[in-house]
Amino acid sequence: MDWIDALLIPAIKSLVVIVVLLLAFAYMTYVERKLVGRFVRRYGPNRAGPFGLLQPIADAFKAIFKEEVIPTEVDKWLYVICPGIAVAGSLIVFGVIPVGDSFMAWGRKITMVVADVNVGVLYVVAMAGLGLYGIFLGGWASNNNFSLLGALRSTAQVITYELPMGLAIASIATITGSLRFGDIIAAQKTLPLIILQPVGFLVYFISGMAEINRSPFDMPETENELVSGYSTEYGGIKFAIYFMAEYINMIVMSILVATLFLGGWQGPFAHLSPLLQLVWLVVKAAVVLFVFIWVRASIPRVRYDKWMKFGWKFLVPLGLANLAVTAVVVALVA
Amino acid sequence: MNIADVQIVSILPQTLLLAAALVVFLADLVWKDRKGIGLLALAGVLATFVATVVMLAGPGVPTFQHMAAADRFALVISLVMSAAAVLAVLVSLDYIVRVDLPAGEYYGLLLLAASGMMFLGAATHLMTLFLSLEILSIALYALAGIRTTDIRAGEAALKYFLLGAFASAFLLYGMALLYGATGTTSLAGIAAAVPSVQTDPMLIAGLALLLIGFAFKVAAVPFHMWTPDVYQGAPSSVTAFMSVGAKAAGFAALVRVLVAVFPTLYAWWVWPVGVLAVLTMTWGNLAALAQGNVKRMLAYSSIAHAGYILVGVAAGEAGVSGVLFYLMAYALMNIGAFAVLIALERAEEDAAGVELERMRGLFHRRPWLAAAMTVFMFSLAGMPPLAGFFGKLYVFSAAVRSGLLVLAIIGVINSVISAYYYLRVVARMALAAPAEEAEPARCPALTIGTGIAAVGTVLLGIYPTWLLNLVQGTLAVLFGG
């Protein structure tokens, strides 16, 4: 029976996570288009199905049936696998985030996380770094100057904003004394960390938006200067896969914010049912996602060099100061 | 073991240097006066020198958690380093303005490198050893390439970097195998475990790899190929400091590891070290004979001197005091020789060092400068009664006492060969001066630096006993109290 615990259950969990994330991705595009439409007083998609609800499916068919074009001068091997790397990188991150406590089924206790790693938070940072290669190498393999520039910018941006992000995570670890998601969520039973760590939250939120290349910080794409950057040479299903990676990144980031700062799956009456825990997490993540979209619709894109300066000269020192203050306070309290 | 055991006093000289480096970096942000920043750095190294002297005079201080010792051996190395650093800063004050180097980075990295060297001299743990070696190496890679406007400096830095990192990998592998063989990474622990595992293949392999790594770092033949290019391409003041400091630090660590940790394996390492010594001396001297560029000649001469010092290392315990004396003497005379070159060097055409022809007639134009150069050349050649002579004397006599007569004889023959190219410089200076030769730089700091080096070289030759007393018996407390 050992192999059920060791292999079968994680496999089923992974499958569930992947399917759910893919569905969420599809409807995320719909929600975003609707919301951005409303922000600028348009309707957004409303043709396919009631309220345009079938739009994502129509888009999917369109992407799949488009002609596959591989430009002649590209590095074929990398060009083809890079979208896959990007999406794998974003999917794999989710594996360590608990979406609830645990429940009993068929006489087994089933935890609502694929793998409860005791360095979970660091794992997330590491995997996000690996997903970057999808964009980086894809831009390089395209053999196009705009793509290369987009890839370089993306890399520089992610490396830059990984630092303040790490500093915010270090502050959390200082308070909770653990890097395991379960412990961090448990530490927020009475008070979500956003109350204790307002600065840390801000730092994490901003760097999070930079990490997932969301507008107004979508430096790798910038249609007006880089002609959509790393994805210039991509079309059809391969472009759709990049697109998918971006949206899944966004969803995962929102869940990370919810878990690290908003108490994760905890909430009033959450202990009653695992389903309720899931609902709480989804609600919190939805709020964060709404803010992401809101920011995109409201703020114009920043200039690249100013954005890098902001990261190095403001966010990193802020994160450091926050960590120092946190450490001193924790030392005094303990 | 806990945090209360931390004895900051035992690493006082190094800490002072680190603090000075930070002050220099910060001052550089607001202060654009390059001489002023140089003077700050000078204050830092002087304070370190004083602290080292005080610690040498005072009672022994405890080790820093088995990580670093402040025993006599470490303090003498600190003395050599801080003397070298004082001289290096003095000769740089004017030079870096002349060749337009960034002051903050230059002095800051110099101080950090010096502190790394002192930590290496004090290291009693493989981890401290490795990290301090890397601090000094990485700071020196950057210093070698500091003249970013000159591709030759870049080339020097690249060669130094690639071969240095390659050597570090061997060194590290050696450390890993030592750890595997003895189960510990502290030198004291390894020393205690060695007798019980004696000829364990892993231990011997680790020792061999460690030797290869150190041989690279001290530029022993056949691991020397980077040296001439790096010494020639780097700015002269950096070369002066690096030829002395990196070498002294490397030998300090080598001696501590070989003599204090592996005395029972003496029979295993004496022959490789001896062969290295012979190859290094001979090759260095023969190659130096062919050089027309004084800076490059000094580079090969520094290889040769590494060979002489290796003779002392091969002598084992008997050679320790000789090695220390030699390092001090070499610091004075070599930096002094470079100081003269710096005075002669003109920014545009001499980026790769002064040609021998440029020495012509120096006696007539600048008699004192030429006299100082003569002292340094005589001392490097090992003429009595200068510092270099006693350095060689102690090292070779230690070799004889350890039964390595062959090494001593080869060393003496080599000294005779080397006299030719050192004296060639002196002879060139005595020739008539060409009319159109430019005036060498005049700068008080450079004069003081050259003067100190020359006087030190002479004094150390006339009164060798004071230093000898200092360096004798350091081995008894090689691991501190």
Partner: protein, 180 residues
């Protein structure tokens, strides 16, 4: 140290991947593929670290090596001439042969030494995987690092300072000489 069959299979698989990665570093015709080979090697080693109950270092390996160092290499490559897929860095005949011979000798030596290895060398410590599991790997590592190894830890920070200052100085475009 005994390994379960599953562990053995994984060890061999990751080992093979690591070797393949390393080989492609030295054999790839284009430096970008070398960098990718290096990435594969690093990731395989990270997996091995995690299996050897050093999970913090495994993750650190991913963050530091895979996430930062390889990226920096690629960055430098692309700054320098990534767009030219021409061969850069041919093999040199004579030197290559000499080098390979040297390396084969070295390898044979090490293999011989390892084969002669009798049992476990050195004294065993007290930090068994059980102890690690009980105290928590990160907690244990952190305490050791900051109490027993505080000096190397600080030296590492000095080293990073040297690295930062040096890299900024070297890579910075030299401006006009500053005012005296």
């Amino acid at each position: 140290m005994t390994a379960t069959p599953l562990e053995t299979v994984l060890f061999i698989a990751f080992g093979a991947v690591a070797i393949a990665g390393a080989l492609s570093v030295i054999l790839a015709r284009h430096a970008v593929y070398s960098a990718l080979g290096m990435l594969v090697n690093f990731v395989a080693l990270a997996a091995m670290y995690i299996m050897l109950s050093a999970e913090f270092l495994g993750i650190a390996q991913l963050i530091v090596y895979a996430g930062a160092i390889v990226v920096l290499f690629l960055f430098a490559l692309m700054l320098i001439g990534g767009r030219r897929p021409a061969e850069q860095g041919r093999l040199t005949g004579g030197l290559a042969a000499a080098g390979s011979a040297l390396v084969v000798v070295f390898l044979a030596e090490i293999a011989y030494l390892v084969m002669r290895l009798t049992g476990t060398a050195g004294a065993k410590g007290t930090v068994t995987p059980d102890v690690i599991a009980q105290l928590g790997h990160i907690q244990l590592l952190g305490a050791t690092l900051l109490l027993e190894y505080i000096l190397p830890f600080e030296l590492a920070s000095v080293l990073l300072l040297v690295g930062i200052v040096g890299a900024v100085m070297l890579a910075r475009a030299r401006r006009q000489s500053r005012q005296e």
